[in-house]
Symmetry: C2
Subunit: 350 residues, 2 copies
DNA sequence: GTGAAAGCGCTAACAA
DNA sequence: TTGTTAGCGCTTTCAC
């Protein structure tokens, strides 16, 4: 064999031709072999694999994508990678995707439609085979780019009337009802809600589900007890202090996400209030941190793995079997209450 | 039933030829135009841009990469995307990269060399132009793949004798010395260190710097007060309880990262100890969360943006100007102490 | 079962 | 300045 490893400068990346030459077959046979085509005799296949090993060869995905029209890249758009919910989600999505031979492109939109537009554009350039839009924003307009190009999509929280678009519905309702019921059972009647930013679909859905849950529990909704925050730690602190300024204060606070709840925990502590003795707090998401707050956070669990799995399945079906008439177009991810230490009976004096 | 042609005016993704035809120029002119070649007359350029706009055309990056040999993709390998330090780092890196027209491929290795090997392979297949190895592990062997292919790399914490490899040194020493001094000034003499897993370079460097700092402060090192943890919340809790079982307990605990410190905060609370009255705690990293713990965490700040910037610069130089003899091969990122609420004087009774 | 050859969409010589 | 053309590394007919 030819020794070309003498110097790094001399070592060229082997290509399919190099392999073919070494194995003494045509490049077509090499291609068939690496694609596991059954039409290759064992004898040749063995020679090819040997050559591949020897050369440490692997195919150039760009060339592959170009000719096959399939990039094996999936995009995932999240709202804010800095919120621990999303890294956990991305991790699951990546694991599944990689296991199926896909690469992923991740982007945070930070809720900014302009950023979203850039991300979509970049993904289009890379010829993604599908995009999971898990940014929860009102970004339908920008998404046109994708639908116009017939790129499969899966959206969290809303439907788009397009055959290439699937939807993942999040059943917050069950978890939120359970949380409100849990609070009611504990004796709470004054329950506040620190909502997420209204530009997020998820925030609005959660808030609506809260209202419904309150009514279903026979309690009454107080407008002043529903405050729009921004799903951040700081936002939770601010929201809490606004609640403290009220004449009649709530004895329990349900938060639109865990970050908000953790902010509340801190603000309560600083205000000299004990959780849950003075005020109960419930989060939503159940990020890994929730178990480690002081006290551990009672929260509504939303499974990142379920969400990631649904997103991947939806995209994969569309990418690999687009003409199947019975493709699943709608997915449901459920939520459930996880009771930990941040909820308890309301102060006796009330 | 439905034909393959879509509704949008028989819309196939436009390619460079479509644009050329519409603008009535050659494809070379289109190529030159989109690449901002000065050799195109304004008149034609205008026609081309118009056609591009009209068709909503953008180039296929796979074709581009194939012919130009440049993918404009950078890889970034982190240890664990679930540790908030990394998303913050990734976000910075992505921002910078995208601003310079690069796409990024992210992977978590979870400290597993086998996973690392897979990631490297995937990146190689996508023809990355450089890889930032910010996983802090002892992964030199696997990295051979990259050096053998002459892929630029930038490594955190260690050097590789290869012209394509740059190094980012993290000056933990300054921050750790400041922290120890801060503790000593407060009156602490018994300072423990909850180390990170020894499989990480960063963990070892941090531990060594701690030992040096203790000696430089004239204090003595107690073997029992240095415990190997794993940089997780749970690890911090475990480490703390081990410390509690000791005959003579430390009055201050310096942790190898913030996650460990936050675990300690929680364990201390559960053990009925107050921070900082009964025990002082210091973290390292200064993740966003650190400001929101109870009490707010005193910690050693390691700037994610500085780290990301250095990593990107190193890679970019290698990718775009590899033959420049005065390429910067070594970068330094500094640390500094951020004093918040988790440190105070040791208990008077001692 | 195997190989020869025609491109995939683009860039970069080289011509004109 | 502009156009023509030869590939980049691969998959995929279509012959054999």
């Amino acid at each position: 064999m030819a020794r070309k490893e003498t110097s790094k400068a001399g070592a060229k990346t082997p290509d399919i031709r190099t392999v073919a030459a070494l194995a003494k077959v045509s490049i077509a046979t090499v291609s068939r072999t690496i694609n596991n085509s059954p039409a290759v005799s064992e004898r040749l296949a063995k020679r090819v694999w040997q050559a591949i090993e020897q050369l440490n060869y692997f195919p150039n995905t760009h060339a592959r994508s170009l000719v096959s029209g399939r990039s094996r890249i999936l995009g995932i758009l999240v709202e804010n990678i800095t919120n621990p919910f999303f890294p956990e989600l991305i991790q699951s999505f990546e694991e599944i995707a990689v296991a199926h031979g896909y690469e992923i492109l991740v982007s945070s939109t930070n809720g900014d439609p302009a950023v979203l537009a850039t991300c979509v554009r970049r993904m289009l350039e890379r010829k993604v085979e599908g995009v999971a839009v898990l940014s929860f924003g009102a970004e339908e307009p920008v998404l046109d780019q994708l639908t116009h190009r017939d790129i499969p999509m899966v959206l969290a929280e809303f439907r788009l009337d397009d055959p290439k678009v699937s939807t993942i519905l999040l059943d917050y309702s069950t978890g939120i009802h359970a949380a409100v019921q849990h609070l009611a059972d504990l004796g709470h009647t004054r329950i506040a809600f620190l909502a997420g930013p209204h530009k997020l679909h998820s925030a609005i859905t959660r808030e609506n589900d809260f209202r419904a849950a309150i009514q279903d529990s026979g309690l009454t909704i107080q407008k002043k007890w529903i405050i729009e925050c921004d799903h951040t730690l700081k936002g939770g602190m601010v929201g809490f202090s606004q609640l403290q300024e009220l004449g009649t204060r709530p004895t329990a606070i349900l938060c639109s996400n865990d970050m908000t709840a953790i902010g509340v925990l801190r603000a309560a502590y600083m205000a000299g209030l004990r959780v849950p003795d003075d005020v109960s707090v419930v989060g939503l998401d159940d990020i890994d941190f929730a178990e480690f707050t002081l006290p551990p956070l009672t929260t509504i669990r939303l499974s990142r793995t379920d969400l990631a799995r649904s997103a991947f399945d939806a995209l994969r079906q569309q990418a690999e079997d687009p003409n199947n008439p019975k493709i699943q177009r709608e997915y449901l991810v459920s939520t459930s209450l996880v009771v930990r230490g941040s909820t308890g009976a309301p102060p006796a004096s009330l």
